[in-house]
């Protein structure tokens, strides 16, 4: 180890009187930090006595922050740089008050060795410190503002980036929407074409319907006229046959009588066919008038029954009626009787010898406002798939029965048209081989 450490309390160096009272603090300390000399102005500045400073470490005059600054900055600067000017130091006065000073210090070699001593001049800063403080705080504020500006700039850049991304997205969405609009327009055009097509077809259908209706009316008119034209010569045939049978044109042989009888039967058959056709044509062309009145159902059944008695007797068919009295319907009496006669005729026609035909009547079935008259037989019946067709004009259920059961095939069609024309209906039920039931639905007469 070289060099001797300074004694803790060395002999105080003599201070020149001029220096002692100079208008600034003066102090000398060594490498070890021990104060070797302090002038009166310095001691006065801090309120210490000479013996409280000289011989003691200079750190003793400083608050802790200043001590660290001394060790980390000021001393290394002084030691290596040789001088340090205008260093601000916070010192601590005897009564603990903080005293801000500006220090100029320079190093010089101590007598006899590598050690150095440092001469320091202290100026008490008061006003200056205030301005410096303001400067410092202004600078800090500026730094903070700058940081804030940078932060905001970053934020703005981010926000701008986001906005650009959003703009891009919006543009893409717009493009998508435009594409969709094009698709929609195309679809719309397709729909418009389809709609036009539909309208055209509807018009076409209406035209077809009009044409069909016109054709139907023409058919009805044609049939009405033709029927009338056909009946006239038939009546002539009937008249002349009757005259010949009466022997007005000379005696009639048995063979001739037989021929005349056949001519007469054929004439009646033909006339009946023509009458049916005429009826149907009239009904379909809407030229039938209905004389509606309140009529007792039983009365009508009673009126019709005798008219089929000869056929019933001929085939030994049992006929029963079960019709309550006083069931009043509002109908055209003649038309209902025509319907009943037709139904009874059919039943008898399609019921084998020894079968049964019966008539029932009921009012308000199932709470409806109708009366029902049913004609039931034990006939051949109608297969289910053909039941719907029995009311069509010119239809008979089984072609095979055509010859055996001659008829125009118009009876049921006419009957249903008549029933409907009075606000009623005609329906059929049947079990093949067991029999059929035809039911006329007629509106109840309310308080007539």
């Amino acid at each position: 180890m070289s060099g001797e450490p300074l004694p803790l309390n060395p002999e105080p160096l003599a201070v020149d009187p001029i220096l002692d009272n100079a208008p600034c603090g003066f102090l000398t300390f060594g490498d070890d930090g021990v104060v070797q000399l302090a002038n009166a102005t310095f001691l006065e500045m801090l309120g210490y006595g000479s013996d409280e400073v000289v011989g003691h470490h200079i750190e003793r005059l400083m608050p802790v922050g200043s001590r660290i600054f001394y060790q980390t900055h000021w001393f290394p600067l002084l030691r290596l740089h040789g001088e340090a000017e205008e260093i601000f130091l916070m010192l601590r006065g005897k009564s603990g008050e903080q005293v801000g000073v500006l220090v100029n210090a320079s190093a010089r070699a101590a007598a006899g060795g590598s050690r150095r001593v440092y001469d320091c001049v202290f100026m008490h800063v008061r006003e200056r410190q205030k301005y410096e403080q303001e400067l410092l705080s202004a600078r800090k504020k500026a730094d903070l503002a700058n940081l804030e500006l940078e932060r905001q700039a970053v934020e703005l850049r981010d926000a701008n980036g986001k906005l650009e991304a959003q703009a891009l997205e919006l543009e893409m969405q717009q493009q998508q929407l435009e594409e969709q609009a094009v698709v929609l327009e195309e679809t719309s055009e397709e729909l418009r074409v389809i709609n036009e097509d539909l309208l055209a077809r509807t018009e076409e259908a209406e035209q077809l319907r009009d044409t069909a209706e016109a054709a139907n009316r023409a058919k009805s008119t044609f049939l009405a006229i033709m029927s009338h034209e056909l009946r006239t010569p038939l009546n002539a045939i009937a008249g002349y046959v009757q005259l010949m049978e009466m022997g007005i044109h000379g005696p009639v042989t048995a063979a001739q009588e037989e021929a005349l009888s056949r001519i007469s039967r054929s004439q009646r058959h033909l006339l009946r066919l023509i009458n049916d056709v005429l009826d149907l044509a009239r009904i379909e062309s809407g030229r039938v008038e209905y004389l509606l009145e309140a009529v007792d159902v039983a009365e009508m059944v009673t009126a019709v029954s005798p008219m089929i008695e000869p056929q019933l007797a001929k085939k030994h068919i049992t006929f029963t009626t079960s019709v309550p009295k006083g069931v009043m319907v509002r109908v055209d009496r003649e038309k209902v009787q025509q319907i009943l006669l037709n139904l009874l005729g059919n039943s008898v026609k399609f019921t084998p010898d020894g079968g049964t035909v019966s008539v029932h009547a009921a009012s308000h079935p199932d709470g409806s406002n109708f009366a029902l008259i049913s004609v039931e037989d034990t006939g051949i019946g109608i297969p289910p798939h053909k039941l719907g067709g029995v009311f069509e004009a010119f239809v008979q259920v089984d072609d095979g029965h055509n010859r055996a059961n001659e008829g125009s095939g118009l009876g049921l069609a006419i009957s249903r048209d008549l029933a409907r024309g009075m606000g009623g209906d005609l329906t059929a039920e049947s079990v093949l081989g067991k029999g059929s039931t035809f039911t006329v639905h007629l509106p109840i007469a309310n308080g007539d």
Partner: protein, 270 residues
Amino acid sequence: MTPDIIRRNNVRISGRGSQPMMFAHGFGCDQNMWRLVAPAFEQDYKIVLFDYVGSGRSDLDSYDAARYSDLRGYAQDVLEICRALDLQNVIFVSHSVSSMVAVLAAIEEPERFERLVLIGPSPRYINDPPYVGGFEREDIDGLLEMMDKNYVGWANFLGPAIMKNDARPELAAELTESFCSTDPVIARRFAEATFFADNRNDLRNVSVPALILQCSDDLIAPDAVGEFVHREMQGSTFRKMAATGHCPHMSHPEETIEAMKEYLQPTDVG
């Protein structure tokens, strides 16, 4: 890569020896602080001096606030310099805060270091009862305030023109160089990284032998702190110096050199 690190940390190599002796400066200064000690070892060692980024003549453009807000960033710098120069068996001499940089570097690459010389080490400056570091947070605020005020004053002061000092030729060598960091923001961050660090738990993980140089009356690293470091570091040697203050390598270079040499001499010499 290598030239970048050399330039970044202003690395200076001298000496005639082959074993590297690397000096790491403390907070508030730069490699110039070793001017009174390093030459004594030039005969036997390869002397490696450097400045931490943000200090001395380091490359300020390399300053990375995140990296250097923690002492680990500085330890990375040390290891990068060692790798760049392929330094082995390093005698690492550190002052003050650099002692903890040395600790972190020695834990990460123990094989690279032969000995550590820790001058005034402190693993934690702030009191944490019952641990006594020596400071309260407010004390550090006082330091930061002092630094702020002097940077205001120094802004136009530490220019090269003022550095000339013809009257003191023995100091001329360093007068042309800037001394302390002139960037107040960086200095403030270094101060915070230094004084708010806590490396107490790292000490016991150091396997490299270390010399602890403890000054007398050291305000920044009191005796109790040096003794704590000695207790925690296995195989460490504790030496109390007559030198007072916190910078014996500047205030008492002779004693510092002697203590180092005594520690580094071969052990088989009685």
